[in-house]
Amino acid sequence: MSSSLAKACESLIEVKDQFEESDELVQAILERDNAEDLLIAVGMAIAYSEDAITLNKKGEAHLIAASKELDQIIEELEEDDE
């Protein structure tokens, strides 16, 4: 696994862990046009970490891109809080 994919997976799983505590994060994701793609990516990261799925290049790219976008959403929420 490439380091960028590993990092993306870790980040996506952390996002899922934050859902319980942050309704704002959930809402911010759901408001996105590509909410389904982002949430699928979260599910893929969890399933991948449990060896329930394998990824091809397209899958890897989807996770990395989704991770970046979710990081951006979290950052924006943090800025709003400040």
Binding site: L39, V42, G43, I46, A47
Partner: protein, 503 residues
């Protein structure tokens, strides 16, 4: 006999004729967790020292010692938490009632004032204060006071004026109908005021009562299954064989199931038919051997809030198979599967049902997350591939061999019982002692008469059970010709069809 109590003639005989064996019997009961169960505390032959072990619930039994009762009364916590039980004590004295009538707890006070020794003028004043305020902290108005207070005209007039007041799922008017002191004149007034008794929607099932205490050693001997009471029942030490030998010699109805000849006459009695039909004893008696036939097997079927255990047979199970799967437990011979010892059950959650449990039908991860369901997002992704087979290609992944099992494991955490594929069979390791073929002919006739007695019941689960077992009797190769002839005379369509199939 006071309400809720019964006399067990077999136990009474044991106490009189074999006091030492009786003492051992009661010691076994008293040492077990079963001591607090209904059949123990409701039996008037049970001695005081056993009842004391049962605790406050046993206060309804007249043998409960006054000294221990007064200790309960003196304990404020017991009094305020268990007033329902304490006011069942048949030896309540005037001085008890006088003191309790001044208690700060409104329920205790209300019950004391409503007691035959209570001050009914004060009770009326209390009711006139509580009812208009709709004060539901007094839980005993409809479920106790109105049903038990000796009614005078003034009390009756007030209660009928507020007959609509509802508490504990019944109104005052409905509760008054259950009051044994209701005079014919009062009844006429209720009718004229269009105050009717509470219709009982569950009457079909309401014929259940506790077993005889003398049946308990037989249940142990037969290794019976007791559902939620299993742990308590299993805590009873093994009874001496002398106990059942004695009860057999007195013609105990459950001795009819033992393979040896009976020296005593076994009386057919409606009251003990329930004992015979309880704990699946008749099911075991007939089904275990009938399952050796090619056309007869155990059949378990689940549905919403139902896990029915019955049999499959071209005639005897037709009604069950055609019935609404959610509503067939009431049919004759059917019972709820609960891992009974004599059965062995299997259940598994198929992958497609697991996917459904994980809400794959939503076809949208966003919809699921919007509902606040985050715990199984990985497994939900796998589940969604069942509804959206194009998903893996679209997003660039493939399921591994472990994916399905991982998804099923998650769904097992919360899957509804009716999502499982279920099956059951006779437990090959269970040592079955009940056998229709080994039952002596004289006892077969007694069992026939018991079941015939059940047929005289109104529509009920018991009646339906009896028809089913008579049908089993008609099918079994070991049923004597004389009984087959009697079965034919019943003129029941199901039994007749089974009898015709024998030819």
């Amino acid at each position: 006999m006071p309400q809720g109590l019964y006399s067990d003639q077999y136990l009474k005989a044991l106490i009189a004729e074999k006091p030492k064996v009786a003492k051992e019997f009661f010691t076994a009961i008293a040492e077990s967790e079963y001591v607090g169960e209904k059949e123990i505390i409701s039996c008037i032959e049970v001695p005081d020292w056993v009842l004391v072990k049962a605790g406050v619930a046993a206060c309804k039994n007249p043998n409960f010692p006054m000294k221990n009762f007064e200790e309960f009364l003196g304990n404020e916590e017991t009094l305020t938490e268990s007033y329902w039980n304490l006011f069942n004590y048949p030896h309540l004295k005037k001085e008890h009632i006088k003191k309790l009538s001044q208690h700060s707890n409104i329920n205790v006070r209300g019950l004391a004032l409503a007691h035959p020794f209570g001050d009914h003028d004060l009770l009326l004043a209390l009711l006139k204060k509580v009812i208009p305020e709709n004060d539901h902290s007094c839980h005993v108005i409809t479920n106790r006071i109105c049903q038990t207070v000796p009614l005078n005209d003034e009390l009756f007039a007030y209660l009928t004026s507020v007959h609509d007041f509802e508490s504990g799922s019944r109104t005052i008017g409905q509760a008054l109908w259950d009051n044994p002191s209701l005079s014919d004149l009062h009844k006429a007034e209720l009718v004229l005021s269009e105050i009717t008794p509470k219709g009982d929607g569950n009457s079909f099932w309401d014929d259940h009562r506790e077993n005889l205490i003398s049946s308990v050693p037989y249940f142990q001997l037969f290794d019976s299954s007791f559902g939620y009471l299993k742990a308590k029942f299993d805590s009873i030490p093994t009874f001496s064989p002398q106990v059942t030998q004695f009860f057999n010699s007195k013609g105990h109805p459950l001795s009819v199931l033992l393979p040896e000849e009976s020296e005593a006459e076994i009386k057919v009695d409606r009251y003990v038919l329930d004992d015979l039909n309880s704990a699946g004893l008749l099911n075991r008696l007939f089904w275990s051997e009938l399952c050796q036939r090619d056309d007869f097997e155990i059949y378990r079927r689940n549905a919403y809030r139902t896990d029915d255990l019955f049999i499959s047979h071209p005639i005897l199970s037709r009604e069950f198979e055609e019935a609404d799967v959610d509503n067939a437990t009431h049919l004759g011979g059917v019972f709820i599967f609960d891992n009974q010892k004599w059965l062995i059950g299997n259940q598994e959650l198929p992958a497609d049902r697991a996917a459904w449990e994980l809400r794959a039908y939503e076809q949208s991860m966003a919809t699921i997350v919007e509902d606040g369901t985050y715990e199984y997002l990985g497994q939900t992704l796998i589940a969604m591939t069942f509804e959206l087979p194009e998903l893996p290609e679209k997003y660039g992944f493939e399921l591994t061999e472990d994916a399905e099992e991982w998804m099923i494991d998650a769904a097992l955490e919360f899957a509804e019982p009716d999502s499982f594929d279920v099956s059951a069979d006779l437990n090959p390791l269970f040592r079955e002692v009940l056998s229709w073929s080994k039952t002596p002919d004289a006892k077969k006739l007694v069992i026939f008469e018991f079941l015939l007695l059940g047929l005289s019941e109104e529509e009920s689960k018991l009646r339906s059970d009896c028809i089913h077992f008579l049908g089993c009797m008609a099918l079994h190769d070991s049923t004597p010709k004389s009984i087959l002839e009697k079965l034919a005379k019943i003129k029941d369509p199901l039994i007749d069809e089974v009898l015709s199939s024998r030819n």
